[in-house]
């Protein structure tokens, strides 16, 4: 590239000024957000499993919406606000988000590899629909792969943070 473009990306409240270009220390035009988060910002809580947009392991929030970071180019995220699993707990107190605590309380994982993506999808679902039914939770998580079959515990964990009278 002849000139170095820059983008500003806010990740978990921290602003990153990122240079776009072809050098190894620059973000290339084809670099995925997942790669930038994991390899440059060392936010490895976001997992890449299929790298193909199929499994949901790489789910993060982009301006509050759940997106697949393996299918999103970093260069497209200029000015955007990204939240990853590392950004869910309270930045001041470090307290876990109630949804994270619910996953602990319900042992809503086995190997735990898909869990960050599942939590991020569920969190976005609850932001959009704070009182989902069990069916809506299942539908909302349909893009998230889990091979151990922790689905049943996950649904219980998510439903446990839905205020009574939901649905």
């Amino acid at each position: 590239m002849e000139h170095a473009d820059r983008i500003r990306l806010t990740v978990n409240g921290k602003v990153h000024d990122i240079e776009i270009g072809d050098r190894d220390d620059q973000v290339g035009p084809l670099e995925t957000l997942a790669a930038t988060l994991r390899e440059r910002l060392r936010l490895t809580g976001t997992k890449v499993a299929c790298d193909d947009g199929a499994c949901g392991c790489c789910t993060v929030h982009l301006d509050g919406m759940a997106i697949l970071s393996c299918m999103t180019l970093t260069v497209e995220c200029d000015g955007k606000d990204v939240t990853t699993i590392e950004g869910l707990s309270d930045p001041k107190t470090g307290a876990l988000d109630p949804l994270q605590q619910a996953f602990i309380d319900h042992t809503a994982f086995q190997c735990g590899y898909c869990t960050p993506g599942i939590i991020m999808s569920a969190k976005a679902l609850l932001a959009e629909n704070p009182r989902p039914t069990e069916e809506e939770v299942k539908e909302g998580l349909s893009g998230n792969f889990c091979r151990c079959i922790s689905h049943y515990h996950v649904v219980k964990a998510v439903m446990s943070v839905v205020p009574p009278g939901g649905g």
């Binding site: 390899e39 199929a54 876990l96 735990g112 539908e139």
Partner: protein, 763 residues
């Protein structure tokens, strides 16, 4: 039954729970090391070829490329069962076989370098099916395997390791039979266990002879010994276990990619990380074996099996990782499920030019069960037998014997599972839903429901030795030295609970050393549901030994008899004066008490899982919907209720029940190319398609260890597929002829059915 215990049997958070939910578990691909390079593998586009020449010049010239290695550049290291397969060979045997390996400063550069390697191949004819491979004129994959049949037997299990099952008098048995059925049935869709995390390793070579491997496998300690067998003595080998993002058995072994990383490190002087892509995982890492049986079975009308004879063909792909072991365990498991005095069953393991089969939960027995059950069903149908009653009658009972994997005879001393089976049948409503063979349980327009049942169990719950240390520090904490890595079963939490229970210490005062082969004694690692009994026994014994030493030291200091002392919460007290308590430190001073525990292999206990399945088939579309699953077992004592529940729910995925319904690896049989090696085309169950799953768990204490528990996770997938195919067949009134029950197969079966046809799918 948590009543008697403080921690055992109670739901407690996983020890790694806060790391899991915050994304701070460090999986293999999350590890950064100074100077770390990225490795990639150039893979063959041909199913069978000789590598005539590899031109690396252009790749080596690319900035950032640190090493490019082909077969000529590496030692003659060979792995696989009977050391058949070279770490990089001049012959490639499947589409995806390793041709060259590259290390570069970035992933992107490593990938670009692959495109710059020019390879000249001499293409050889390939064999892609069992029948083609066994043809007398078939192309041969290995000189050492004439006729493409792998050398039988497991060297590590001794000269008598189970290669076939020949006992009693089958001719006499068939004469005693009221009905005899014969048939051929296959389970040939080679599903992929497909853990979410792809396999990976980091290799570090340090001159002159030190090898360190970080690995994402479920059982890392044993790699130390396995790698030594491959590379020879004279190396200082250390293996480091990294949390494993799903395995289901498949990440028990990954010697080839570990050694690729080591060789690249040797060539560059830097650590090299090699993590497979999803496509590589699906197309070039291990699958389930393919299995086909041609057997004859004799039954009496009371459900007694009088004779079983025939041939079991197991297709293993381009090499055998451990297929002989899977055949041996499968033969053992056949005897656990079918009490029969007269066997004449002969397996053969066959190589073809496809990606290799390897370890997956179910370990040979699942594949055997999937092939054998439809033929057994044919006999049951002839004899008018209910399959639930048949399996209940025939599952191993205390006092029954069986030949296990090493060829030795063992007598079962566990519980009678009949009570658990009855309880499961009640929960499922078997008596109401079973309407006889090839009869639906319910019909509503084009929707027809059917039910099926199968059973599976394994005596490998006590396979191989385990060792552990438990160290008590005067500050009132305990540390477990066990080479046990977390791979999803929660076993690392369970051993904390066991130690906490023995010592009556709060869970947060029991920790574990980092998983590193240099700090812990021998541990084979999880596999065959051995974690609860084998690893558990070693850890419990170590905790008991440490406690004993602590109380002995305290008794000396206090002038008391150790038998009169007890401990809890890091305090020591006299049993008759429990209110007068002193800290461990006050009792033993600056002393560390180290306990050692060892478990010796034991094949006299076996677990059991019976699975009931109900499906609904739409006869118009051919679509099969899984409606309900009931799994039933007896584990002696639950260690962790949600952990056990999770393992049992795992019956659906990882090549379990869904492998009978829609999962399959699709190979182009003219090129050997895999057509669905990605997560879009390879089908998997989503959150929106969850059936009702109920798990019935009895707790009849086993004579295992002080908690009377046995493990059951490995077998959770095994009985379900055969039960699901049986259910779908009963729903439509005609036997499906193979796995999985895709709409195409269902519609074909319906279209081909002749009026009044009965009998198993076996033909």
């Amino acid at each position: 039954m948590a009543g008697a215990y403080t921690y055992i049997g109670r739901s407690t958070p996983r020890e790694d729970a806060s790391r899991v939910v915050t994304g701070t578990v460090q999986f293999i691909d999350d590890i950064a090391l100074p100077g770390l390079l990225h490795g990639r593998v150039l893979r063959s586009p041909h199913a069978h070829a000789l590598v005539k020449a590899v031109d690396k010049t252009k790749a080596e010239a690319l900035v950032g490329v640190e090493a490019v290695l082909a077969w000529e550049d590496v030692p003659d290291w060979k792995g696989g069962m009977t050391n058949s397969t070279r770490v990089l060979d001049r012959k490639v045997r499947f589409v995806g076989d390793a041709v060259a390996i590259v290390a570069a400063t970035t992933r992107k550069t490593a990938a670009e370098a692959l495109d710059l390697i020019d390879v000249e191949y001499e293409i050889l004819p390939g064999v892609f099916t069992l029948d083609d491979a066994l043809d007398p004129g078939a192309p041969q994959l290995y000189e050492d395997y004439p006729g493409n049949v792998v050398t039988p037997g497991v060297p590590g299990w001794g000269p008598e390791s189970l290669k076939d099952l020949v006992t009693g008098d089958v001719d006499g048995g068939f004469r005693e039979a009221d009905v005899v059925a014969e048939g051929v049935f296959g389970c040939e869709n080679i599903p992929n266990p497909m853990p979410p995390e792809t396999p990976g390793a980091i290799g570090l070579w340090e001159e002159p002879n030190k090898i360190t491997v970080w690995v994402s496998d479920q059982a890392f300690y044993k790699h130390k010994g396995y790698l030594r067998r491959i590379v020879g003595s004279g190396f200082d080998i250390k293996t480091i276990g990294v949390p494993c993002g799903g395995s289901y058995g498949s990440k028990n072994m990954s010697w080839q990619l570990q050694l690729h990383a080591v060789l690249l490190s040797k060539a560059t002087g830097r650590p090299v990380k090699l993590v497979l892509s999803k496509e590589e995982q699906l197309a070039a890492f291990t699958l389930r074996p393919s299995s086909r049986m041609h057997v004859k079975v004799g039954l009496k009308r009371d459900g007694t099996v009088t004779a079983l004879s025939g041939r079991w063909l197991v297709e293993t792909g381009h090499y055998s990782q451990t297929t002989q072991a899977q055949v041996a365990v499968g033969l053992g498991e056949a005897q656990l499920a079918i009490r029969c005095a007269n066997w004449d069953l002969h397996p053969a393991i066959v190589c073809t030019n496809r990606n290799a089969s390897g370890m997956v939960r179910g370990f040979g027995g699942q594949e055997l069960k999937c092939s054998l059950t439809p033929i057994l069903s044919l006999a049951m149908e002839k004899a008018g037998l209910d399959p639930f009653e048949f399996f209940k009658k025939n599952y191993v009972k205390p006092g029954d014997g069986y030949f296990w994997r090493n060829g030795k005879w063992y007598v079962y001393r566990g519980v009678d599972y009949a009570a658990a089976m009855d309880e499961g049948a009640k929960r499922f409503g078997w008596a109401e839903k079973w309407k006889g063979w090839l009869n639906p349980s319910e019909v509503s327009g084009t929707k027809r429901r059917g039910v099926g049942v199968c059973v599976h169990g394994n005596a490998d719950i006590g396979e191989d030795p385990s060792e552990a240390y438990v160290r008590l520090d005067p500050d009132g904490t305990a540390t477990i030295h066990s080479a046990l890595v977390e791979h999803g079963t929660g076993q690392k939490t369970n051993i904390v609970k066991m130690v906490a229970e023995v010592l009556q210490l709060p869970l947060d005062r029991v920790s574990q050393l980092p998983t590193d082969s240099s700090n812990s004694p021998f541990e084979r690692g999880p596999g065959g549901s051995r974690g609860t009994y084998a690893t558990g026994s070693a850890v419990i014994a170590a905790a008991e030994d440490a406690r004993h030493k602590l109380l002995e030291s305290a008794a000396h200091a206090l002038g008391a008899d150790p038998a009169d002392l007890d401990t809890d919460s890091g305090m020591v007290f006299r049993k008759n004066e429990p209110s007068e308590r002193i800290s461990w430190e006050a009792a033993v001073g600056r002393r560390t008490c180290i306990g050692y525990g060892r478990f010796e292999e034991d094949f006299t206990l076996a677990n059991c899982m019976m699975t009931f399945v109900e499906v609904e088939v739409d006869t118009e579309t051919g679509h099969v919907t899984l409606i309900e699953v009931v799994n039933t077992t007896d584990v002696g004592q639950i260690i962790d209720p949600p952990g056990l529940e999770g393992q049992m729910n795992g019956c659906l995925g990882s090549g379990g029940i869904d492998s009978a319904l829609f999962e399959e690896t699709v190979l182009d049989s003219s090129t050997g190319r895999m057509l669905d090696s990605n997560m879009v085309d390879y089908r998997w169950r989503t959150f929106f398609e969850l059936p009702s799953v109920h798990n019935v768990v009895l707790e009849t204490p086993f004579a295992s260890h002080r908690f009377g528990a046995v493990g059951v996770g490995e077998v959770a997938t095994a009985p379900g597929p055969a039960a699901a195919l049986m259910a779908a067949s009963n729903a439509i009134g005609v036997w499906l002829d193979g796995y999985p029950a895709t709409p195409q197969r269902v519609l074909r079966a319906l279209g081909n059915v002749a009026p009044g046809r009965t009998g198993g799918g076996a033909t």
